[in-house]
C-alpha cells in the first residue's frame, strides 16, 4: 500500500497527464492527420500505465496499456476518415474513465476499474486494428525483378481485370484469397489501384492485376473461378514490353500522386482523394527516369510554424543588414560597404526561395468549395455546376487564408441571389443547371480570381432608384450613370440595406465588406454584370506580401515608405506644373494631367519645419493605365528592402497604410498604400462629380 505522500504525488502527476491527454486529443480532433498528438498520446498513456500500476491499479494499468499499444499502431498507420471520429470518441471516453478513478482517489477511495471493462476495451481495439492496420499480401516487384521474371522460360504476362460482386462485404479477405490463389500459380507484379490502396480494401469493386505465370489463360480462369463473390473476370495476355511499360507508368503516377499529396499536406490534408490528373500526366514524363524502383523523394513535409519562424528570422536579418549598411555609409568604409552590398544577391535569392516556400496551390482551399456549393445548392433548391479553373495557380498561404471568407461569401451569394431556380432558368431558355465558375490566374504581381455566374445579373435600374432615394442624385442625372458608376455605389458600405433584399439581387452589405477585405489585403475588387447573362466578380490580390522594396520618403519630420513597385517616376516638385481644375489640384507631366495629392495634407501631418517647396519631390504612382496620381513628399531618402508588419491603428484612417516596418536605424516607418489612396480618390471623384 502506498503512503499518503505517494498518493498525493500520484494525483498531481496523473492530473497533469490527463490534462495533457485532453489537450492532445483536442489537437488531434482539429487536425486528424497530424501525427504529433498521436505520438504524444502514446507517451502519456505509457506513463499513465506505469503510474497506475505503481499505485496498485492493475486493471487501470492494463486499460492504459491497451491504449498505448493501440496508439503505437496508429502511429505507424493512418486512421481512416470513417474511423477517426470513433477513435476520438474512444479517447475521450478513456479520459473520463481516468478522471473518474482519479476523483475517487481524491476522496480516498482506491477502487480499481472493472476487469471486464478492460476486456471490452481490448476487444473494441482489436476490431479497430484488424480492420485498419494489417498485412501486406501483395509483394510488389520492382521493374528489374519483373524483367527477370519475364525472361524466364514459358513465363507469360497478363492483365487480369476482376470485378467483385456488389454484395461482397469482407473485401479484404476476398482480396487476400484472390491474391493467394494467384500467387500460388504465378506472381502478381503490380495492381491498379496500387497495392497499398488495394490492401486497405477501400477500393470500388473492380481492379486490375498485372500477373506473370507459366499457366495459360484458361488455367488462370479456372483458378479464379473457384473463388466466391467474383462477378466478372477479364484476362488479357500482354506482350512483355508493354507489360513493363504499363507497370512503369502506373508506378510513376503513383509516386507522383504520393509526393503531390505530401506537399499538399502543408496546409490542408482533408482532401487527399483527389489529385489533379492533368498535372500528374504533365509531369509524369519528367520522372520517367526515376521509375526504376529507386524513386527519389522529391518533397518533404515541414511544419508551417517552422516556415513562419524562418520568415521572421530572415526579416530580422534584413533589417540588421540594412542597419549595418547604413552605419557603414556614415563611416564611409568602402571595403566593408562593398562586401555588404555583395550580400544583396544571396539575400535576394533566399528571399525568393522563402517566397516559394510560402506558396501553395489555390486548389488546396478551392477544392473545399465543391462541397460548399453542393450544400448551398441543395439548401436553395438550385442546380449548379461548379467549374474550377486554374487551381494550380500558387499563392501566398496567408493571402489564400484571408481571401477564403470573401470567396465563400461571393459563392454563396451567387447561388442564393445570382443563379435562378431551375424552373425560372428554363423559362428564360437557359440550361436548368446554373454555371458557377471560379477562375484563377496570375498576372504581374497579382493573382486574379473571378467568381462568375450565369444568373440573373445585377438589377441596375433598382440601384439607380436607390441612388435617387438616398439623395445622391436626381432622377434625370441618375439615368446618365453608367454601370461602372453604379458599381461604386454597390460597394459603398450601407448604400443598400438588408430590407432591400431584392435590390441588386440581395447583394447588399456583404459586397461592401468583401470589397473592404480585399482592399485591406492590398487588392482590388471589381464587378461586371449583364442582365440575364450573369455577374462576374473579380478579385485582384497581391500574390505575396511580407518583404517589399520600398522608397523611403520624409513627410514633415516623419519617415514613410512607398513600395517601389507602385512608383512610375520620381520628379522634383515644381509648383508651376500644378493645375487647378474644379478646385482640385492636378500635376502636369508631359502631356498628361494627373491628380495631385499632398501627402502631408492627406495624412494630416503638421509641418513644423516648413520645407522649401522647390526641394519637395513629386512621386508618380500608377495603379493601372487609367488610374495614377502624383504624391508630394518633402524629401527623397534611400530605397530599402523592408519587412512589412501588419498595421492597425485606432487614431487614423489605416486604410491608407499598408503596414509598418523598421528601418536600418531602428525607426518605425509606415508604408503608404498609394494604390488604395488612388482608388479612393477616383471613387470620391465619381461620387463628387455626381453630387
Amino acid at each position: 500500500m502506498s503512503s499518503k505522500d505517494d498518493i498525493k504525488l500520484f494525483i498531481s502527476e496523473a492530473e497533469d497527464l490527463i490534462q495533457k491527454t485532453e489537450d492532445e486529443i483536442l489537437t488531434l480532433e482539429e487536425n486528424p492527420n497530424n501525427s504529433k498528438p498521436i505520438k504524444e498520446l502514446f507517451f502519456t498513456f505509457h506513463t499513465l500505465k506505469g503510474l497506475t500500476a505503481m499505485v496498485g491499479f492493475d486493471n487501470l494499468s492494463k486499460f492504459c496499456h491497451h491504449f498505448e499499444s493501440f496508439l503505437d499502431n496508429a502511429q505507424k498507420n493512418k486512421v481512416s476518415k470513417t474511423k477517426r471520429d470513433n477513435f476520438i470518441d474512444m479517447l475521450f471516453e478513456s479520459l473520463d474513465v481516468l478522471k473518474n478513478v482519479l476523483n475517487q482517489v481524491k476522496k480516498g477511495d482506491m477502487k480499481d476499474i472493472d476487469a471486464n471493462f478492460v476486456e471490452d476495451i481490448k476487444n473494441s481495439f482489436e476490431s479497430f486494428e484488424t480492420e485498419e492496420y494489417d498485412i501486406t499480401f501483395i509483394e510488389a516487384l520492382n521493374l528489374e525483378e519483373i524483367s527477370k521474371l519475364l525472361n524466364q522460360n514459358q513465363n507469360k504476362s497478363f492483365k487480369i481485370y476482376i470485378r467483385l460482386e456488389d454484395t461482397c462485404v469482407f473485401k479484404k479477405v476476398r482480396l487476400f484469397i484472390i491474391f493467394r490463389a494467384l500467387n500460388e500459380n504465378g506472381k502478381i507484379c503490380w495492381t491498379n489501384p496500387v497495392p497499398e490502396e488495394l490492401e486497405r480494401a477501400t477500393i470500388r469493386n473492380d481492379f486490375e492485376i498485372y500477373f506473370i505465370t507459366k499457366n495459360n489463360k484458361e488455367n488462370i480462369f479456372q483458378i479464379l473461378d473457384e473463388i466466391l463473390e467474383i462477378e466478372n473476370i477479364v484476362i488479357t495476355p500482354i506482350k512483355s514490353e508493354e507489360f513493363k511499360n504499363t507497370i512503369a507508368d502506373l508506378k510513376g503516377k503513383w509516386e507522383l500522386q504520393k509526393s503531390a499529396s505530401i506537399s499538399d499536406d502543408i496546409i490542408i490534408e482533408d482532401y487527399d482523394e483527389e489529385v489533379d490528373v492533368e498535372e500528374i500526366e504533365r509531369v509524369s514524363h519528367i520522372t520517367e527516369g526515376y521509375t526504376d524502383g529507386t524513386v527519389k523523394i522529391m518533397s518533404v513535409k515541414v511544419n508551417i510554424e517552422y516556415l513562419e519562424e524562418l520568415m521572421n528570422y530572415f526579416g530580422e536579418l534584413v533589417i540588421m543588414k540594412n542597419h549595418i549598411s547604413q552605419l557603414l555609409k556614415e563611416k564611409e568604409d568602402r571595403t566593408l560597404a562593398r562586401l555588404i552590398d555583395k550580400m544583396d544577391k544571396p539575400f535576394l535569392d533566399i528571399q525568393e526561395i522563402l517566397f516559394k516556400l510560402k506558396l501553395v496551390r489555390v486548389e488546396s482551399t478551392f477544392r473545399k468549395y465543391k462541397r460548399l456549393v453542393r450544400d448551398v445548392a441543395n439548401e436553395t433548391g438550385k442546380k449548379i455546376r461548379l467549374i474550377l479553373e486554374g487551381t494550380n495557380v500558387e499563392i501566398d498561404r496567408k493571402i489564400l487564408e484571408e481571401i477564403n471568407s470573401p470567396l465563400v461569401h461571393l459563392l454563396r451569394n451567387a447561388i442564393y441571389h445570382g443563379i435562378e431556380p431551375p424552373k425560372e432558368r428554363i423559362k428564360k431558355g437557359k440550361d436548368e443547371f446554373g454555371i458557377l465558375k471560379l477562375r484563377t490566374y496570375r498576372r504581374a504581381g497579382s493573382i486574379f480570381i473571378e467568381v462568375q455566374d450565369d444568373g440573373a445579373g445585377i438589377n441596375y435600374d433598382k440601384i439607380r432608384e436607390q441612388v435617387v432615394n438616398k439623395g445622391y442624385y436626381d432622377i434625370d442625372e441618375a439615368k446618365e450613370l453608367t454601370k461602372e458608376d453604379l458599381n461604386h455605389f454597390i460597394l459603398l458600405p450601407g448604400f443598400s440595406t438588408l430590407s432591400d433584399a431584392d435590390l441588386i439581387s440581395g447583394r447588399g452589405m456583404g459586397l461592401a465588406i468583401v470589397a473592404e477585405r480585399i482592399k485591406e489585403l492590398g487588392g482590388d475588387f471589381s464587378i461586371h454584370s449583364e442582365k440575364d447573362i450573369g455577374t462576374k466578380f473579380t478579385l485582384d490580390v497581391p500574390f505575396t506580401r511580407a518583404i517589399l522594396r520600398a522608397q523611403l520618403i520624409q513627410i514633415a519630420d516623419d519617415l514613410f515608405a512607398i513600395p517601389t513597385e507602385n512608383i512610375k517616376q520620381i520628379y522634383f516638385y515644381n509648383p508651376n506644373q500644378v493645375e487647378y481644375i474644379e478646385g482640385e489640384q492636378y500635376y502636369k507631366i508631359d502631356s498628361k494631367i494627373v491628380p495631385l495629392i499632398h501627402l502631408s495634407d492627406h495624412l494630416n501631418m503638421v509641418n513644423e519645419s516648413e520645407t522649401n517647396s522647390h526641394k519637395k519631390i513629386a512621386i508618380w504612382c500608377q495603379k493601372d493605365e487609367e488610374n495614377s496620381a502624383v504624391f508630394v513628399a518633402d524629401k527623397q531618402l534611400q530605397q530599402l528592402d523592408v519587412v512589412v508588419k501588419p498595421f492597425k491603428s485606432n487614431f487614423s484612417d489605416s486604410r491608407d497604410i499598408l503596414g509598418s516596418t523598421i528601418t536600418g536605424e531602428g525607426i518605425i516607418c509606415l508604408i503608404i498604400d498609394v494604390l488604395s489612396i488612388i482608388t479612393s480618390k477616383t471613387n470620391e471623384k465619381i461620387i463628387s462629380n455626381l453630387t
Partner: protein
C-alpha cells in the same frame, strides 16, 4: 475417386440451428452428403480424423476450441483439406486470420441457400 461415391461434408458450428440449416441445404445436392456435425473445435478435429471429409464448413467463434485453431490443426493433419469458413458479419478480422491459416474460402452468415450450393458445386467440381 470411385464413381457414385458421394462427397463428404463435415459441418462445424456451435449452433444447432445453423447446423440444421446447412445440412438441409447441402443434402439437397445429390452427390454430396453431410457425414458429421461438430459443435466445437475439439469435436471438429476428432471427427475430421475419423471421417476424412472432402470439405469442412467452419464456424469461427465456438466454445472450447475456436474455428481458427481447428482450421490450423486440420490443415496439419491434411494440408489439402478444404475448409470453408462460415462466419457472422463483423468478424472480418477473424475471417482473414482463418484465411491466412489456410481456409479456402468463406461465406457470411446469414447466408443464402444459393451461396452454399454455389460453394459446394464450385469447390467439389474443382476436386475432380
Amino acid at each position: 475417386m470411385v464413381k457414385n461415391e458421394k462427397k463428404k461434408v463435415l459441418i462445424v458450428d456451435d449452433a444447432q440451428f445453423t447446423r440444421n440449416m446447412l445440412k438441409n441445404i447441402i443434402n439437397k445436392i445429390e452427390q454430396i452428403e453431410v457425414v458429421g456435425e461438430a459443435s466445437n473445435g475439439v469435436e471438429a478435429i476428432s471427427l475430421y480424423k475419423k471421417l476424412n471429409p472432402d470439405l469442412v464448413t467452419m464456424d469461427l467463434v465456438m466454445p472450447e476450441k475456436g474455428g481458427i485453431e481447428a482450421t490450423e490443426e486440420i490443415l496439419k493433419i491434411n494440408p489439402k483439406a478444404i475448409i470453408i469458413v462460415v462466419s457472422a458479419l463483423g468478424q472480418e478480422a477473424l475471417v482473414l486470420e482463418a484465411a491466412k491459416k489456410g481456409a479456402k474460402d468463406f461465406i457470411q452468415k446469414p447466408f443464402k441457400n444459393e451461396q452454399i450450393l454455389e460453394v459446394m458445386n464450385r469447390i467439389l467440381k474443382s476436386g475432380e
